[in-house]
Symmetry: C2
Subunit: 466 residues, 2 copies
């Protein structure tokens, strides 16, 4: 069977008048009067459906076809008829309609609109709805845009490991992975679990970041990025947290915090532009149905042409203190900014994405480069309207002595990080990097407000279905 895709029909409509084609897809709607019927068909290649016109006088199984249920898979051969005055460029007048796979009458996705909550309960079927067809197409195109962006700039894509033996002890937010007997694990003489008998000969966890390994690669290739799943065993049941999510982590050598922010901004703009070009129908759908002001596209378009905001943490706190009555959480120099603070900055004060830089060292990780004030580190978070933080990054501490003294302050054992410290012993360079939460980028681009609706099969506290 030579199946022609609906997207191809759409793109080549003018050359196809009266041509015979065969299409295959799923019935989205079907209606008929006595001798005439209409099917809206979708084959996954195109956001918009293809109209199939079927007539009793033209096909030999009109009555059977008229009984097809929504959701059925069918194969249609027919003639292309151009419809220049309609929304769609063409329709198919069927000569033959075959049932590829029937759909039972209890198919859950009937024409009426379903809530996103309900659709989560049938995650195996929801990609067939308009919303999720658009979400997962945009997700796919955005992922490709990210690879394309880094590839064009000569970055090496590094597959850092997900299973890690580092940082496991006492890491409250990590998942342990094991093949030991769950009930009766082997014990050591002191009564503690003998992880030397576990699969990897020690305790292992699922990684929360590939950064440290990416730094190893950056000290060879100068420009690398990761793009893979990441995990948090955080018991937070919010619309912004998933236990398994995808993260992009570039790492660049011979680079400082400004280079890092420039890269982040270039990347975000590149992805937005690419998705808007490649997915106009999907983006129009989000604009019309998921943006209260129907202004999603104009907002993103403006963004591509303007610079992101930039503010130091210290200035940001001053700006927020002027509005402290509007927040649930206190805001003061030294505090970790809450989502409400982040969103206020980006939505109310800057009204666009904004980088917050130079955070107090106490609320940031050990590897971030100490500023000359000895109080703040060369960190940056990118905040975007509607979501809050989507990127967290920093210049890394390349000075071995400074790094070691910071680790000592934080009670981190140098022995546990000897390989990481080696990067500073052997040809270390100024370098920087960041982590982009991929789902949050998709939420930002689509207006979808729950992370469970941008992951095909979300894993969250208490839920790992499918």
């Amino acid at each position: 069977m030579q199946r022609t895709e609906i997207k191809w029909l759409w793109q080549n409509a003018t050359e196809l008048a009266d041509k015979q084609v065969t299409v295959g897809g799923w019935v989205k709607t079907i209606r008929d009067s006595k001798q005439l019927g209409f099917i809206e068909l979708n084959d996954g290649s195109n956001f918009n459906n293809l109209q199939i016109v079927f007539e009793d006088s033209k096909i030999d199984n009109f009555k059977d076809v008229a009984k097809f249920n929504v959701g059925a898979a069918i194969i249609v051969t027919g003639a292309v008829v151009l419809t220049p005055n309609a929304k769609q460029p063409l329709e198919i007048h069927a000569q033959k309609i075959e049932l590829e796979g029937a759909s039972a009458p209890d198919y859950p996705l009937q024409k009426k609109r379903h809530s996103l909550e309900y659709l989560r309960s049938i995650a195996h079927l929801r990609p067939r709805t308009n919303t999720f067809a658009a979400v997962f197409r945009v997700r796919s195109v955005a992922a490709y845009a990210i690879h394309k962006f880094f590839n064009e700039r000569g970055f090496v894509y590094a597959h850092t490991p997900l299973i890690t033996g580092s940082d496991c002890e006492g890491a409250g937010e990590m998942f342990r992975i094991t093949t030991l007997d769950a009930k009766n694990p082997p014990l050591k003489e002191d009564g503690s679990v003998d992880f030397s008998q576990d699969f990897f000969g020690k305790m292992t966890c699922l990684t929360v970041s590939g950064q440290l390994e990416a730094e190893c690669m950056a000290m060879a290739f100068a420009k690398v990025y990761t793009f893979g799943p990441t995990f948090r065993a955080e018991n937070s049941n919010t619309a912004r947290h998933a236990a398994e999510f995808w993260m992009i982590e570039p790492e660049i050598a011979f680079a400082d915090l400004d280079d890092d922010m420039q890269l982040a901004q270039d990347m975000i703009k590149y992805v937005l532009k690419y998705v808007m070009e490649q997915c106009p129908a999907e983006m129009k759908f989000f604009n019309d149905f998921y943006d209260p002001d129907k202004a999603l596209i104009s907002r993103l378009t403006n963004l591509v042409d303007s610079d992101f905001g930039k503010v130091t943490y210290t200035e940001a706190v001053k700006l927020l203190e002027e509005h402290k009555d509007e927040f649930d959480y206190p805001v003061y120099w030294g505090c970790d900014l809450q989502t409400e603070h982040e969103r206020y900055l980006t939505e109310k004060i800057f009204k666009k994405p904004v980088f917050v830089t130079d955070y107090p060292k106490e609320i940031k990780a050990f590897y971030m480069r100490m500023n000359d004030d000895n109080k703040t580190v060369a960190a940056m978070d990118l905040l975007v309207p509607g979501v809050g933080e989507i990127i967290g990054g920093s210049q890394r501490e390349e000075r071995l002595d400074v790094l070691l003294s910071r680790m000592e302050e934080l009670d981190l054992k140098a022995d546990d990080y000897s390989w990481y410290l080696d990067l500073r012993r052997y040809g270390g360079t100024k370098h920087a990097g960041y982590g982009l939460g991929f789902e949050r980028l998709i939420m930002y681009m689509t207006g979808i407000s729950n992370i469970r609706d941008v992951l095909p099969f979300p894993r969250t506290t208490g839920s790992a279905e499918y």
Copy 2:
């Protein structure tokens, strides 16, 4: 600092005569006589090094530079001098050399050649060697080629979950993931571990395949693929097995086993061609140093222009039985082919990649489509020289009644797979797919014979360093 990359210099050499440039990179070799010295510099953008010539009369820190150790990171400003008669197109005559990061004298990667085994023990530094610079560049370019291939064909990239609640019970080759106390897990009244108190409210594992979830997506988008990490808790300490590896799993609707094999062949050829075009220096290196006959490139080039072999399992067994004395393991109809059998088929009999099709149902998975003989299923494995199996695929059983009776034979509970069965209840189509082991593809393309040397930080039985 405006750093020019060596790759760019290489590509634009003819226009750069006498121009001043600044480069940054790592010292691969350094030697000097009294007033003149040479540095081979690599910045990760280019497989080949850039020669830096430094003279006492031209720079003000000649003595310091001459003492730089191998591995040091430096920044060099100088004039481009074309070298049309040398292997490299140009060299830089330094006007200024700054030390960005020193390299301690005990830097492990001195000029001498190191064994791959030794280099595994310093995985954080090995990307700086020729072999691993080439391996990880090829890996990155091959990954991009895969995304590009599927993107050009309109596939949706689907991020299927790594944490799974399916198939966990009794799955010997799966890693359990948990946040329960390792020593004193909560118990139920019957004394068994109470997984309802675990993070996801049940026992969860790391996935061995995203196929079943990809099938859900394929029944909406018709053409999808996954590309992500996959896990096996297999206690096999071989050169071909890792506990964490990357897999590509396309899934196509309205497609049968022939379509599946065509897709696999097109994909492999596309990736080989793309990598040979994009990485000529790296591929020449593998050809000259990792192929006993220095015939890697000619072999891969021929392959791109010819069809892969095709043989049924039944025919393959007959062919192998003629050589049974050459094998350690017995070969007979019904046996699971061993690596030695697979390699014999592809290396000795077909002398090229070969698809083996239509395996006995007993040695294949429950979801594979039953052939009319009721003995074999529409499965295919792709075997390649030097590696053995790199792809395993099948047409999937789309007939609900056949699938249910097969599951019953295998004692699989329909309730556990209700969502998977729904795909056959609601508009199922003929469909097919396969899994490509990404590391094995890289091994095949490079001639590197141990999977530990194509993964940046390999995870194998007893080993999860870094």
